[in-house]
Amino acid sequence: MQTFSNANSGAIVLSLAERIIENRAYLSEIDGKIGDGDHGVNMAKGFGMAADRLKGKEATLSEALDTLGTVLMTEIGGSMGPLYGVMFTEFAEKLDGVPAIDAATYSLMLHAGLEGIQSIGSAKVGDKTLIDTLVPAVEAFDGATASGKPFDEALDALVSAAEAGRDSTRDLVAKIGRASRLGERSLGVLDAGATSCAIILKELSLGARARLT
C-alpha cells in the first residue's frame, strides 16, 4: 500500500506558498474582474507569512499545515482567512499523529477540510466558489480509491477533477460572495477562489505523490 511520511513533508507547504506567491498577480486579476481584486495579494501575504515561519524548520506536514491554517485564520482576515484557515487547520488535525499517510487518511483529511469550510460559509456546488473545485476533487479521489486505484492514481484523478472544477466556474453565475450581485455579468470568467483552490490541491497532491513509497 502506498503511503508518504508525515515527517519532513512540511516542505510541501513551502512549495504551496511558492505557487501562490507566483500567482499573486494572476489571482488578483481574476478577482478584479468580478470581485475586488485582492485575492492574490491576500493569499500571497498569508502563505508568505506561513512560509517565513516554517523556513529552516524540519516540520511534519501536519505541523506545517497547522501553521498555515493558524496564520490564515488569525492574521489574514478577508474571506480566505476563515475559509482556508479552517480548511488547513482541519487538514492538519486529521494528519496529526499519523506517521505514514495513506489514501484513506488523505481522504479523511480532504473531507474534514471541506466540512470545515461548509460549516462557515454556506456555498454549494454551482455557486461559483472554491467549493466547485474542492467537491469534485474530493469525489474524484474517493471514486478512484473505491474503484481500486492506487494512491498515486487517485491523486492524479484529484488534480484533474480540481482543474475541471475550476474551469467549470467560468460558465457559472455567482450565487455567493461579492460577485453574486452581478447576476449574468459574472459569466465568462473563472472564480478566483476556485482557481487558488485548484493550485493548492494540485501542489499538495503533487507533493504527496512525489513522496509516495
Partner: protein, 333 residues
C-alpha cells in the same frame, strides 16, 4: 499607476504608523497593535461600546470615525479585506463598558465570517455582542434582497447614529434598534468613472472603457449594475436620485442628511456640481436638507468616482445626528 509608496507589501503597516502618530488625540493602539485602535475618550462603564471596522483602502473609513460620541474602537484589515477575529475581539474588550458591545460593519462575506467568529469569542469572554450589518448600497441588490446588499459610504451616517445612541447611554437593545433603523433609512448609489488600483500591484483592478462609466460601483471596485456611456453630471445625479426616491418614502416637509462622497480621485469641484443637483431634486419635492457632508468620507483607493447617500431622518435620527462627537474626520459640537 503611480503612488507614494515604500515597500508595497508594508503599505497598511506604514499607513497605520502614520495614522497612530497623526491622530493620537483621538485614538490609540490596543495592546500596542495598530490593527485594533481604541478611542482615547469613548469607552466608559455603563455605556454600550461601538466597534466598527473592515478593510483598509477606504480612508478616512473606518478609523477616522473613532472618538468621543462616535465609535469606541476600530478593527483594521488589509486592503479591501476584513480584519481577522483577533483584533476585533480586542476591540470588543476595549470598548466594553459592561453594557454590551455593538458591532456595525458592511455586509461582506469576509467581514461577516471574521466578525461572527470574533463575536463568539467575545461572548465567551462574557461580553454581550449585537451586530448591525450595513446594507445601504441600493444598487447592489434588488429591494427583495435588501439584506443581501453591500454597506458602502452610508456607513458614515449609520456609524454616527450608532455612536450617538451609545454615547447617550441607551441600552444595547435600543442602540441596536436605532442603528438598524438608520441603516434601513440610508440609501447610497455610487458611480465610477475610472478604476482603482491596489498598491501591491499598481495596476487597475478592472477596466472601464474610455467613454463609459459604471453605475452602482462598490467601494472595493466591485462591478456595479450597469456599464453605460458617460453622461452629464446632472443626468447621472438624476438617475441616482430617481433610484433613491423609488425606495425612500419621503413626503414634502421631510428632512434628510446628504453625503456626497469622493471615491478617491474625484475632486471637490465635481462633488459640488453633484450636490447642486441633489439639492435641486430634493427642493423640488420639498424635502429639506438638514445637514450635508461633501468630500472624501469613504473612498476606494484612487478610484475616480463618487457616491450619493441620503439618510431619511425622523425626529430621533435628527436628534442623534446632531449629538456632539469628536473624531479625526468628524467633529460636531
Amino acid at each position: 499607476v503611480k503612488k507614494f509608496l515604500n515597500n508595497p507589501n508594508e503599505v497598511v503597516e506604514e499607513m497605520l504608523d502614520g495614522v497612530v502618530r497623526a491622530h493620537r488625540d483621538y485614538i490609540e493602539p490596543i495592546n500596542g497593535s495598530h490593527r485594533a485602535l481604541v478611542a482615547k475618550t469613548g469607552p466608559r462603564p455603563g455605556k454600550v461600546g461601538l466597534v466598527i471596522g473592515g478593510g483598509t483602502g477606504h480612508e478616512p473609513c473606518f478609523l477616522g470615525y473613532v472618538g468621543k460620541g462616535l465609535a469606541d474602537a476600530v478593527a483594521v484589515g488589509n486592503i479591501f479585506s476584513s480584519p481577522p477575529p483577533d483584533p476585533i475581539v480586542q476591540c470588543a474588550v476595549a470598548a466594553s463598558g459592561g453594557e454590551g458591545v455593538l458591532f456595525v460593519y458592511g455586509n461582506y462575506a469576509g467581514d461577516v465570517m471574521n466578525f461572527e467568529m470574533a463575536a463568539e469569542i467575545a461572548e465567551e469572554k462574557g461580553i454581550k455582542v449585537r451586530t448591525v450589518l450595513t446594507t445601504d448600497d441600493i444598487a447592489s441588490s434588488p429591494i427583495e434582497d435588501r439584506e443581501g446588499r453591500r454597506g458602502v459610504a452610508g456607513n458614515f451616517f449609520i456609524f454616527k447614529i450608532a455612536g450617538a445612541a451609545c454615547d447617550r447611554g441607551l441600552s444595547l437593545d435600543a442602540c441596536e434598534a436605532v442603528t438598524r433603523k438608520a441603516n434601513l433609512r440610508t440609501y447610497t448609489v455610487g458611480v465610477a468613472l475610472e478604476p482603482c488600483s491596489m498598491p501591491q500591484t499598481r495596476r487597475h483592478n478592472f477596466e472601464i472603457g474610455p467613454d463609459d462609466m459604471e453605475i452602482g460601483m462598490g467601494i472595493h471596485g466591485e462591478p456595479g449594475v450597469t456599464r453605460e456611456h458617460i453622461k452629464p453630471a446632472d443626468d447621472i445625479t438624476d438617475a441616482i436620485m430617481d433610484n433613491i426616491f423609488k425606495e425612500m418614502k419621503a413626503s414634502a416637509g421631510d428632512r434628510v442628511a446628504v453625503l456626497i462622497n469622493s471615491f478617491g480621485a474625484t475632486p471637490l469641484m465635481e462633488l459640488y456640481i453633484l450636490y447642486r443637483r441633489v439639492a435641486q431634486r430634493l427642493a423640488a419635492k420639498n424635502i429639506e436638507i438638514e445637514a450635508n457632508w461633501i468630500g472624501h468620507y469613504c473612498t476606494s483607493l484612487d478610484m475616480v468616482g463618487a457616491s450619493i447617500s441620503i439618510l431619511h431622518l425622523d425626529q430621533e435620527l435628527t436628534d442623534l445626528l446632531h449629538h456632539p462627537c469628536e473624531t479625526a474626520f468628524l467633529r460636531i459640537n
